[in-house]
């Protein structure tokens, strides 16, 4: 049985899917087909009934999606975290900050080049939230809103030696690091919650609600927990399983 699941670029870039999909097929017989798109586009696909479920990380948008009746419910599965990546010589001294907002303030203060996703994705919204929390209105030549997916934005940052907010998984899997390095991470403000939302079968009778439910059961199972928490790159654990039973 096939099931279409829309996910965001940052999830796809993490490489976790390659571990989970075969296990899902084995455990449930469901062949999950991933559609890797922007957060907005993922929700739009769900809204139109073109996918059976979505797995995204943008809480406000998700809640609105469910409230509008497009999804049946929102089920938190796991989280990873964001980190701040930048040039090795760290001209803005981001490495010395203790809070994410502080790190952002350093960057703004130094007017060091900063690449923003600029695409209304979960990552972008998180970044905007951090600026707001830091009390900074990011404008000027140093602030570059690129409007691209996670990997493409990282490529851009690497090309211009700029700072960027990235999810840890995408960063670790990223092959074009150039002169960039991880400078800041660990602040709980940077946690990145992924949630699973089945598309509402009342709206779209053709969606595979039963399979979507079985997938949800599997995703919240111990088997999933083991795989998710066991997934490491370069010795770092990437995701923390936090589905409630």
């Amino acid at each position: 049985e096939e099931l279409k699941l829309a996910v965001t670029t940052s999830f796809a870039n993490s490489g976790l899917a390659e571990i989970l999909l075969p296990a899902i097929a084995e455990g449930t017989g469901i062949d999950v087909q991933l559609l890797i798109v922007g957060t907005g586009q993922a929700l739009k696909l769900g809204e139109a009934g073109d996918v059976d479920a979505v797995l995204v990380h943008s809480r406000a948008a998700e809640e609105e999606f469910v409230a509008s009746g497009f999804g049946t419910h929102r089920r938190e599965i796991m989280y990873n975290d964001f980190i701040i990546v930048g040039p090795t010589d760290d001209p803005a001294n981001v490495g010395l900050a203790t809070l994410a907002t502080e790190a952002f303030a350093h960057i703004a203060g130094a007017q060091a080049p900063f690449v923003s996703r600029g695409d209304d994705s979960g990552t972008h919204k998180k970044e905007l939230g951090l600026w707001k929390a830091a009390g900074i209105e990011p404008t000027g030549d140093w602030y570059r809103a690129v409007g691209q997916g996670m990997g493409a934005a990282l490529n851009t940052a690497s090309g211009m030696d700029a700072y960027i907010l990235a999810d840890r998984a995408s960063w670790l899997n990223f092959g074009n690091k150039g002169d960039l390095t991880q400078l800041f991470g660990g602040d709980p403000a940077l946690f990145n919650q992924y949630a699973y939302i089945p598309v509402n079968p009342a709206l779209h009778p053709h969606v595979k609600a039963v399979a979507a439910e079985r997938l949800e059961v599997w995703l919240t199972s111990d088997r999933a927990r083991a795989l998710i928490e066991g997934y490491t790159i370069e010795g770092q654990q990437l995701f923390v399983f936090n589905a409630e039973r």
Binding site: K4, Q33, L35, G151, H206
Partner: protein, 234 residues
């Protein structure tokens, strides 16, 4: 720079080891693009001929519009096809979204104007030669189109190959309507885009080189078969 060399080495390795994933997505690329090229040619070669032999008021506008359609951004085509094929769209019941059929439809839309425009140009010149004769022989419109398509077949092959080239390298539209689903709708170009996003430039370039090699082989094969360059024009 290094990425380019590594990419070439990797391309060689993938080909020499007959990498099964590579073969799968290459075959799918060919399947989609060859289908799209054939369908688009069936539409646009007669259309190009029809435009060449008919004089009508809006002619100049139609041709400019056709030329402009060559510039249809793939993403827009992808969106349009998506909107039509989406479950909530008019053709949603067909369930074609995220299948190779949807990708073929998108590519047909993209390359039809290209093939029509180039073939129109070629047939216009042939029609200038044949005009008086075919009028004098009292041919029907359809007979004229047939004669022009047949006698101009070599130039038309170039037109179709231009369409093939455009389609095989296309990614924006098929990404949206195909979804780049592993083992279902992933083709060379969407795989390249995926690897690029991961920053795996060497692998992305390797796939790119393989794609070019594939296109060279197809072009060379068709030129040899059709003897275009041994033309009796020469």
């Amino acid at each position: 720079m290094n990425d380019i060399l590594t990419g070439m080495a990797e391309a060689l390795r993938l080909i020499l080891t007959l990498d099964p994933t590579l073969i799968e997505i290459s075959l799918r690329s060919l399947e989609v693009t060859v289908s799209a090229t054939i369908i688009a040619s069936l539409i646009s070669l007669p259309l190009g001929a029809w435009l060449a032999i008919n004089r009508f008021r809006a002619r100049r506008f139609v041709i400019a519009f056709l030329n402009a359609l060559m510039g249809l951004p793939p993403v827009v085509v992808g969106l349009l096809v998506y909107v039509l094929l989406s479950r909530s769209g008019p053709l949603g019941v067909l369930g074609l979204l995220f299948t190779t059929s949807a990708m073929i439809i998108a590519q047909v839309i993209i390359i039809t104007p290209i093939i029509a425009s180039i073939s129109h140009q070629a047939i216009r010149e042939l029609w200038a030669d044949y005009h008086d004769l075919l009028i004098s022989l009292n041919t029907t419109r359809w007979q004229r189109i047939k004669a022009l398509l047949w006698d101009g077949r070599r130039a038309l092959l170039t037109a179709s190959l231009a369409g093939f080239g455009r389609a095989i390298g296309e990614v924006g539209a098929i990404m949206i309507v195909g979804g780049n689903i592993d083992h279902a709708t992933r083709v060379l170009t969407t795989a390249i885009a995926l690897e690029t996003g991961k920053g795996n430039f060497a692998l992305a370039l390797a796939l790119g080189f393989i794609l070019i090699a594939l296109a060279v082989v197809v072009n060379l094969a068709l030129h040899l078969l059709s003897k275009t360059e041994r033309s009796s024009l020469w």
